[in-house]
Point group: C2
């Protein structure tokens, strides 16, 4: 199970029922939160997402619309009796931002909170997190303040054992673990066993790229190349390219152009400016460049897998 739920698609301020930035990625039994705009804890609850499964939080940058829900979420976890440690990753300044809020509000978390601060010079492409099956790394986005995108990538998967074939050749079950580990061996009857003969191709490994906020930045292409699914901000329409450049945001077709260059599987666009009610043109302009583009919809779980 590898999927993402978009909790907010608005930029800067809530508009037309659109909320502020936050994505939650589920990978098997674990949840990862990307950004935490104001109200994120309410939308997690409304979408019946289990806060206790939260494994780590990744913040792109220290603009209010991406972090003003963070202190509230972290204290709610504490009041809900979380005991397991939690790590929050984000740009330099994040620790002071949180610690000062906790100090001035007399808040004390009942679980260990680790804050990992990122710096562009040190962390472009850095591996931040890994477990048995997933890695999460960051890369530098081009915004007015230090800003990081995140890449969640499944580790290469084992090749699947073709058990029927092994059975048919009379290989006892106790040797199957060797086959799965791609280790050759000799049977008691003297037969040399090549594991490749009993293994199918590996299951494909998928990936999710999260790119917000950023101006058009081809420098990120190597980091997100071949992502199964990419979210890229598309704050403006193309006729506002000048304004996009000034505010270090992207237009719809710029987002699509990054998707095209990176040969991603699918593109979701979001972080829409409050000046747009109808988003049809965002979709049209992006699809003209990268056909498999979709408008991010809040509360939908998007599978991170090819359609």
């Amino acid at each position: 199970m590898f999927q993402v739920c978009v909790l907010g698609t608005s930029s800067a301020v809530p508009a037309f029922g659109r909320n502020l930035s936050a994505h939650v990625v589920q990978h098997n039994q674990k949840l990862f939160l990307l950004d935490c705009g104001e109200g994120t804890q309410f939308r997690l609850i409304r979408n019946r997402i289990r806060l206790r499964r939260l494994s780590a939080i990744f913040i792109t940058h220290l603009h209010g619309d991406h972090i003003w829900g963070l202190a509230g979420l972290l204290t709610t976890l504490s009041l809900n009796a979380r005991a397991e440690p939690l790590t929050v990753y984000g740009p330099k300044g994040l620790a002071q931002f949180l610690q000062m809020q906790f100090a001035l509000t007399h808040s004390e978390l009942q679980y260990p909170l680790e804050i990992v601060e990122l710096e562009a010079a040190l962390h472009d492409g850095a591996l931040l997190y890994q477990d048995n099956r997933l890695t999460i790394s960051c890369f530098v986005l081009q915004h007015h303040v230090p800003c990081f995108g995140y890449m969640l990538r499944e580790k290469p998967k084992r090749r699947r054992l073709v058990a029927d074939r092994a059975h048919a050749d009379g290989i006892p079950k106790e040797y199957f673990h060797l086959l799965k580990q791609e280790v050759g061996f000799t049977l008691p009857d003297g037969r040399e066993i090549d594991p490749n003969h009993y293994l199918g191709p590996p299951l494909p490994a998928y990936s999710y790229a999260y790119c917000t906020d950023t101006q058009y930045a081809p420098s990120i292409v190597p980091h997100v190349r071949h992502a199964t699914l990419m979210y890229h901000e598309a704050t403006f329409l193309d006729d506002m390219a000048q304004r996009a450049a000034e505010t270090a945001h992207s237009t719809a077709s710029q987002a699509a152009d990054i998707a095209r260059q990176a040969e991603v599987g699918q593109l979701i666009i979001g972080h829409f400016s409050a000046r747009y009610h109808d988003l049809t043109q965002h979709l049209e302009q992006a699809r003209a460049v990268f056909p498999d583009t979709h408008l991010a919809e809040e509360g939908i779980w998007y599978p991170i897998a090819p359609f």
Copy 2:
């Protein structure tokens, strides 16, 4: 028009669809916000409350569930092109709390923000705000951290002119303003005019008392005496009186006892603990002490006037 809308009735964490503390009071064309828990700006928008009419904000205390929506609301006002100055009142530490958040998130407000910090030793009963028709003062609540309640009180109203009687006595209209100001005068025909003869009783002036968070504190009674409507926290049921005392909160019947002692017109209770889904017992326990008690309901406009 004098009315209050409760935007959040939960304590500490959102629960059962109940949101975090914030009340908005409308007095004629002006709006006043009391507390600003996370998500307040979303609920103001959902309830179609015009952010531009916001005249001042009053914060009771620096606990997250009462202030984690403040930075977001203040920046949204700025992005919505507010230009008029805004004053926020609250306990010492509020200025640092806001300024640090704005500094670390590179936020710059486009309107003048004044922050007035309150101290128990200086401000118990202090008049903080007044315009032609309303005063707002604060008083000290008993909580684990410095905490203030607020009293919004209409100024005494003018007596109403009984215009028919003045007409009948042949008093020209150009003298009516003197009558309304209760000033006596002599007409050209030599008649001495006593304004009291032409004035009815003054329209009643109403008041709203906002008391949260606090343990049972009879010291507040003089400050809220005869309030037309009082909101008082009732975090716990009576069987949790011990826990209420430990956490410096009130039970339902303690809230009602303050209302009874202060002889307020009506009582609304709120700030319910997340341990309670059904609130029937809160209502029953409070009504046993003060019959005209109501459970705060979110999104309802309560008239600040006798029923």
